[in-house]
Symmetry: C2
Subunit: 392 residues, 2 copies
């Protein structure tokens, strides 16, 4: 539809360290991300230039605090601008990005801040599990006691049954992402692990073990968008968004046609590829939604990086590791960088921004020109896929 | 900026009855609104035409259910489309409307559904009070025990002190809105009251009494937007949105310069009037955010319907009643139609749509051409103001 021309351009990005931020509120963590984004783009005058803000924030319960859009406008020094919270479960800031793209393209807001934040570690594991469960279906899932590890375990089990995928394949995704995280100073986890570490960890919901699960983390991320024709005013090194897709699916697994793929990912990817006039073979690197290791395998297939059932082989052959054909989750992913749920979508964009502008340091993908992000809400009732092109 | 030309056009609208909907989930209540909007516009093929959806939904806690965007896409037969929940407290669906305007104007989505829903009456008064409080500041308001009646009482008290406003003036707003509600078959309250009814009701937070407070209600509302140049394809009788403003302010009252006005309302109104190239004198009728009767008085002043401190006189002279100079809250308002928080913003639009298309029956404002809606989040950390023009 848009012939691969840029929809909008990213002129800056920021991210807090993902970790346990004891004693800090979400608003304080978000300012770390905003301050980095502002410092990285000295030609931007935030208070004067930024016209609107969309913020991904998943849960009111963690801090007993809703209305996060306006709070973050205030705490980032932008008080007065329109500021709206978007919520689509763990896909909240991917949805905020989509809303920000609309805003820039509308002509009503030339510079837009998009981001996300979550403060989770102040709560017990039981509380976090309960709050996250609000992203699944209350009457037919939550009420009957299933939580997200169980929901994703059902999908993983079916993948094993249909395609012969092994628990060791899931473990390989964890090993890769922990290795990548060890190269990312902002990742929550900083140490490499082995397949044995994963295989010997306790089961959370068979076949998923502790090391197959992403991390409960505190963190924030943000990006600054503008019109492509205005990008040069702010930076010599923008990243263009050339494709955007968002899709919905039934909230509950029980209404899905398939457990081995996520329909919303496929729909969103198709829209993004078409808009960008690119195919999966054109993608140099990607950040995908590995809330559980098994979800990373499914994402490879749904995004077209391999055929259905072939994702295990990509991992066996290190094709998605740094140095491989298409490095995935060079940031460490949700698995090892951490998954402060509302912040995850734009944290993925942050990594792609660093990579496509040559600022990814020890984990830099050589000659990276085209990147992709994939952010999922819940078990796939929401998915967003965005495609990025280096301006260099 | 846009010289009064339409930003987008409303081609249909729907609203559930506002009442206690025992045994129904929010998703079921929303389908009532959607079905009315679809039936009202037979040329619309919802599944084929509607390209995205923004939904105002304030609280996950009521039904232990987040991720409402995708759920409502499914329940309205639109499964697959991008669907995002917007949250800005009681201003959630006003913010969703703003996001929907961006989407239409971006060129990425020609027809967009915007709406809101809340299911509240399944919870106790104490629970509702606690959940609503999440829209105020946790560390400096909630934590110390203040809830929304107390917050608005502080503002009302200051208005009385500065301007000599009396409790009876607040009561007049309640009497007017209950009268209007008695003409609206979809309003929660259907009976007229007197100033004595209000004055004799028990204090909730001095000077606000039970009859000064809006209603805890279940309900849903939605509107269908398209580009002005496409409106004729769907209807002979669209309503154009000619002005849109949204603004933020500090979450807590303690940082405000004034207690007698809401800065975000004034900022949003200024933006909307400028965009529409209209002034307060041009407005024929308005739906304003009367979460408490005192808030309606403040809104008159912030929106420029009268000078600061003069709102009581408008009520004394019946200028904002049906038949007056500028009828306000002909629907019954939040006070008497009900305030299912996430649904309120687009329910205001629904009323203006009916009025400007001549479908408001017993409460029709004669020769209404220009309308305004004003939706507030919390104590004013968010406000949206939109201005509408009849196409006739």
């Amino acid at each position: 539809m848009l012939n691969g021309t840029p929809l909008v351009s990213i002129i800056s990005a920021g991210m807090s360290k993902f970790q346990k931020h004891d004693g800090l509120l979400a608003r304080e963590i978000f300012t770390m991300a905003a301050q980095e984004a502002f410092a990285r783009c000295p030609k931007l005058e935030p208070k004067q230039d930024i016209k609107t803000m969309f913020i991904g924030h998943m849960g009111e319960a963690y801090e007993h605090q809703g209305h996060m859009g306006s709070i973050l406008a205030d705490w980032t020094g932008l008080l007065g601008i329109p500021a709206t919270r978007c919520e689509a479960a763990c896909g909240s800031s991917g949805a905020a990005l989509r809303a920000g793209i609309y805003a820039v393209m509308s002509g009503l807001a030339d510079v837009v801040m998009v981001g996300g934040v979550e403060k989770m570690t102040n709560r017990s594991t039981a509380e976090v599990t309960e709050y996250l469960a609000m992203a699944s279906d209350y009457p037919f899932e939550q009420y009957h006691g299933i939580t997200f590890p169980g929901i994703y375990a059902l999908m993983a089990t079916r993948h094993m049954h249909d395609y012969g995928t092994k628990e060791e394949h899931f473990a390989m995704a964890a090993v890769k992402n922990h290795y990548h995280a060890s190269l990312n100073p902002k990742a929550h986890m900083q140490k490499e692990i082995t397949v044995e570490t994963v295989m010997n960890s306790r089961y959370v919901a068979w076949p998923l073990k502790l090391y197959d699960c992403s991390l409960v983390t505190d963190g924030a991320s943000c990006i600054i968008l503008t019109k492509p024709e205005l990008a040069a005013k702010y930076t010599d090194n923008p990243v263009h968004i050339v494709g955007s897709g968002q899709a919905s699916d039934s909230i509950g697994l029980y209404e899905r046609k398939s457990f081995t793929s996520i329909e919303s990912t496929k729909t969103a990817a198709k829209a993004a590829y078409e808009m960008a006039q690119l195919s999966p073979q054109d993608i140099n690197l990607a950040e995908v939604h590995d809330c559980f290791t098994s979800a990373e395998l499914v994402a490879y297939e749904d995004l077209g990086f391999c055929d259905p059932g072939e994702s295990g082989k990509l991992l066996e052959n290190n094709q998605t590791s740094l140095g491989g054909r298409i490095p995935v989750n060079t940031s460490g992913g949700l698995k090892a960088k951490g998954h402060p749920v509302g912040a995850t979508g734009t944290a993925q964009v942050y990594e792609i921004y660093l990579q496509l502008t040559g600022q990814a340091e020890r984990r830099q993908v050589k000659d990276a020109k085209i990147g992709l992000t994939h952010n999922v809400g819940g078990s796939g009732a929401t998915a967003t896929v965005h495609i990025y092109r280096s301006a260099q």
